[in-house]
Each structure stands twice: as structure tokens, then as C-alpha cells.
């Protein structure tokens, strides 16, 4: 977990990815651009962080992860439990037929276009 000391909840992004190298790069990218960032390596860890840090503004999650739920189930869970959270899903795989993301959830393919992500995150958190 990083950035714990400077949390401003509505501008805090939770990054969830089991691929540590990718996760650290996302954390660095977001921190460099003024976001407070928390990170988790799976959905269970992410939910525990959400419980302990109310008001997290956005969650950016990978899809395929070990643990009790994948990224799709995680965003569905978060939408139900913490409705205002902006949700962003990233994956190296196209979304499968029949996969339903919660409303207003953005999907990005891997590798990420960092500039687009930053723009969309800013819009979601500032809007």
C-alpha cells in the first residue's frame, strides 16, 4: 500500500492488480499526477482497504486475479456497496460475451494508454 499519509478521499484511487510490476507502475503514474493511491493485489485485499478507507473516489482494477472474485465481480460488489465510486476496469483480454459491467464503468485494454486514463480519472473525480 502506498500514499497512506496523504489521503484526500475523493481524490484517492485504489489500484488492484495481481501483476506487481504493472501495479507499481500504475501507482507511480497516478502519484506523479497528483492522486493519492492505495493498492491491492486481489479483490479481497481491495475490499478490506475499501472498508478501512471510506470515500475512496475511484477503483482501477484488473480482471483476471486470484482470490475469491475477479475484477468484474469486484466492481459489481463495489457498485452495490459503495455506489458513488468511479470504476475503471483494465484487462489484456477483451470483455467476454455476456459480461456486464456496472453502469458508468470504463474499460481499458492492456497495455494502458496512461494519458487517457489520467484524463478520465480526473474527469470522474473532479466532476
Amino acid at each position: 500500500m502506498s500514499g497512506e499519509a496523504i489521503l484526500t478521499p475523493q481524490h484517492t484511487v485504489l489500484v488492484v492488480d495481481d501483476e506487481a510490476i504493472i501495479r507499481y507502475e500504475l501507482v507511480d503514474l497516478l502519484e506523479e499526477n497528483g492522486f493519492a493511491v492505495l493498492d491491492a493485489s486481489d479483490a479481497d485485499e481491495a475490499i478490506a482497504i475499501m472498508e478501512n478507507h471510506p470515500g475512496i473516489g475511484a477503483v482501477l482494477t484488473d480482471v483476471e486475479m486470484p482470490g475469491s472474485m475477479d475484477g468484474i465481480k469486484l466492481v459489481q460488489f463495489i457498485r452495490n456497496r459503495w455506489p458513488p465510486t468511479a470504476l475503471f476496469v483494465i484487462s489484456a483480454r477483451a470483455l467476454g460475451q455476456g459480461t456486464v459491467l456496472p453502469e458508468h464503468t470504463s474499460f481499458y485494454g492492456k497495455p494502458l494508454d496512461g494519458r487517457r486514463l489520467l484524463r478520465d480519472l480526473s474527469a470522474a473525480l473532479d466532476g
Partner: protein, 391 residues
């Protein structure tokens, strides 16, 4: 040229300009009413032996010329074909058609609708078109069939074409078919494999992107960034080699370590440990970490002089105080110059410690002992040696 062949037994030489006439000359005497069942194929024999009086076709000796000709045509073909005759749809398959029937009861003399009962709802309209005088050609038509005892989806490219008698009346149907199930399944598997390949490629690109950006972000200058990116991507390439040499899903720790350290061009490494399979994400993390450790050893550690050595050991261990089996990996440098704690943590250290800790869900310690750097990874491990992967 299409005139009557010379009568058998007259001793006349067939016309040398007409090979066709020669062949006709060698045929069985026309007095044999079963002469149209030429050849010794299984179906020719079966047709001879079949009790046709029990079918609407009646005694074989009384079959019409069009039926005889049709049967003769399919028996002399190596293409899977089946004649479907009369309002009762009596089936007469040729030898090449038999594999298509699988383990179904013999189709000869039975209703085609009965032979393909499980798919007849789909096939009947096509057959009706043929009996109405219209041929239908369909490629890769899916048919739910139970021909091997279990329901399966099979695919056929076929043509149902009408057979007319001398008066032009449709009296039967010719099913000419080739099974394409294997091709369709291979195509589908290829599509799945391509999708999986695309996923792995994009995931590898994402890792490459992260390694590159982290290397640039943490480099002191452009030269250092260029070298770091180049070397780390080469390390990533070596890990990919090991993964693609197996199933991609898992890689042997020994092979990974061997590939990572052989690239350093130094024979002062010793590797020792049992057969342990690592998941692909772990394999990539460990390969990158070993590359960082080896680079550090060459620049500042045990391999920066002529006498130092590096030992990489791993073992599986059951600790009575902790659940399950543990995988312990230890990198030990000896004989090098005196070691001191580095001033800043570069991406190399991040790769070694944090990335491995996260990938293996374990504990990592990078211990800069004065006598030599020691790195340890202690992680939960499941499965049997050589088969399981670190958790």
C-alpha cells in the same frame, strides 16, 4: 464411340483408338442381372445379400435402370454418397459413406429419416427440396447426432440432389457428403488459441510497458535508462523463452534460473534445488529479480572481482509452526568486496523485493551483509514437487 461394345466371346479386338470400348469389353456378361454391383466392396456385397423384398424397392432383379445406374455410380465412387430412394426414403450408402454413420445400426435398406432420426427435423426440409427437384448444397452444416452413442455436434458439407428416371420424374435423392467436423473443430481451437495468444501477448506488452516506464522513471540519466531497459527486456525475453518452451502456464525454477544466470556470461554461479514449477507471473518476476541480482553482483558484488562466487539454492520445507509447505529461495554472495547498504532504492531493488513479495505472497529479505549480499524469499507453496506451483 458411344456405340454398342462388341459381344463377349466373339474374339474381336477392341478398337485401339477407344480405351473406353476396351474397358467395356472386359466387363461381366450382360446376362448377369447383378452386374451393376461391380467390385468387391463391403457395400456391393451387402446389397447383393440384402433381402430387398422386405423393402419398397422389391427384388433386386426388378430394380429400374435408373436405380441400378445410380447404385453402380456410388459404388464406384470413393466420395461418401448415399442413395435415398422412393417415398420410403430407402437408404443405399456406399463404402465411403460408412464412417459418417459411426456406430449407427446398418443403414442399408432403412429409411434415411430413421437413420438420421436425431437430426431429421433439420434435414427433412432439405430432403423435401431434393424430392421436389431442387438440389441443395450446404457447407459445414451443423448436425446434432448420436452416431457414436453420445450427442455431438458434427459438421458436413453436402449436396442433396434429385435423381430422375428416364421420364424425368424424381424417384430418389443422392446425398453426396464430406464430413468437416475435424476441420471446424481445428478452426475453433485455433481461434481459441489465437485469442489466448493475443491475451498473453497483450499481457506481456503490459509488463514490458511497466518495466520500461519504471526503468526510465528511476534512472539517473538517459544512458542508464537505455541500458536498464535493454537488459531488463532481454531478461523478460529469456523468461518468455522458458515459458513458451513449456505450456506458458508454468516454468521450472531451475530452467528459469539457468537461463537468467547463463546470460551473465560468468560460470561462478552454483544452482541447487529440487524440481519446482512456478506460475507464469512468478516466473517472470523471479527472472527479472535474478537479472537484477546478477547485474548488481557483477557491478558491485561478489562477481565484481576475480574470486567471488554466487550460490542460488532453493528447497521445499515443512515448518511445524506454519501451515503447508514453504518454498525457500536463497541467493548468497561470497568472496566479493565489502558490501554496504545502497543510498537509494532503485527499480532493481523494487523488482527484487516488492515484486517477488507480491507475486509469491511471501516474505523477502535483501540483506546487505558486509561479507556479501544475501537475498531470501520465503513463500507458501502448494502441490507436489515438480507439479505444483507457489501459491
Amino acid at each position: 464411340m458411344w456405340g454398342s461394345p462388341p459381344a463377349v466371346g466373339q474374339g474381336e479386338e477392341p478398337a485401339r483408338t477407344s480405351r473406353f470400348c476396351f474397358l467395356v469389353h472386359q466387363r461381366t456378361p450382360v446376362t448377369d442381372t447383378l452386374a451393376f454391383l461391380s467390385g468387391d466392396g463391403a457395400m456391393a456385397r451387402a446389397i447383393r445379400d440384402h433381402d430387398w423384398q422386405r423393402t419398397s424397392l422389391g427384388r433386386i432383379e426388378n430394380w429400374s435402370a435408373s436405380l441400378r445406374t445410380s447404385v453402380s455410380l456410388i459404388l464406384n465412387s470413393h466420395f461418401p454418397q448415399c442413395i435415398v430412394w422412393g417415398p420410403d426414403l430407402v437408404s443405399i450408402p456406399n463404402d465411403a459413406f460408412l464412417p459418417i454413420l459411426g456406430s449407427k445400426p446398418p443403414a442399408l435398406g432403412r429409411s434415411f429419416a430413421d437413420v438420421w432420426a436425431e437430426a431429421w427435423d433439420d434435414l427433412a426440409p432439405i430432403a423435401e427440396l431434393a424430392f421436389a427437384g431442387e438440389a441443395t448444397f450446404i457447407e459445414n452444416y451443423p448436425v446434432r447426432t448420436t452416431r457414436f452413442g453420445e450427442e455431438e455436434e458434427a459438421f458436413f458439407t453436402f449436396c442433396y440432389s434429385p435423381i430422375r428416371d428416364e421420364a424425368g420424374t424424381v424417384v430418389g435423392m443422392l446425398d453426396t457428403v464430406v464430413e468437416t467436423t475435424a476441420t471446424i473443430r481445428a478452426d475453433r481451437e485455433l481461434q481459441v488459441a489465437n485469442r489466448e495468444l493475443g491475451h498473453r501477448l497483450k499481457n506481456t506488452l503490459a509488463v514490458t510497458q511497466a518495466v520500461t516506464l519504471q526503468s526510465i522513471r528511476r534512472a539517473a540519466n538517459l544512458t542508464e535508462a537505455r541500458e536498464a531497459v535493454s537488459e531488463r527486456l532481454a531478461a523478460l525475453g529469456r523468461a518468455t523463452d522458458v515459458l513458451t518452451g513449456t505450456s506458458w502456464d508454468a516454468a521450472d525454477l531451475s530452467m528459469l534460473a539457468g537461463a537468467a544466470l547463463a546470460a551473465q556470461g560468468d560460470d561462478r554461479y552454483s544452482l541447487d534445488g529440487p524440481l519446482v514449477q512456478l506460475a507464469s507471473a512468478q516466473a517472470i518476476s523471479l527472472s527479472l529479480a535474478l537479472h537484477e541480482l546478477a547485474t548488481n553482483a557483477t557491478k558491485y558484488g561478489a562477481l565484481s572481482n576475480d574470486t567471488g562466487k554466487v550460490s542460488l539454492q532453493w528447497r521445499l520445507e515443512v515448518d511445524p509452526n506454519r501451515p503447508g509447505t514453504r518454498l525457500l529461495i536463497q541467493w548468497t554472495e561470497t568472496g566479493g568486496p565489502r558490501v554496504s547498504q545502497p543510498q537509494r532504492q532503485g527499480f532493481g531493488s523494487v523488482l527484487i523485493e516488492r515484486t517477488l513479495r507480491s507475486s509469491f505472497k511471501g516474505i523477502t529479505v535483501l540483506d546487505f551483509r558486509p561479507e556479501g549480499l544475501v537475498f531470501t524469499l520465503d513463500a507458501p507453496w502448494s502441490g507436489t514437487p515438480g507439479a505444483g506451483t507457489a501459491q
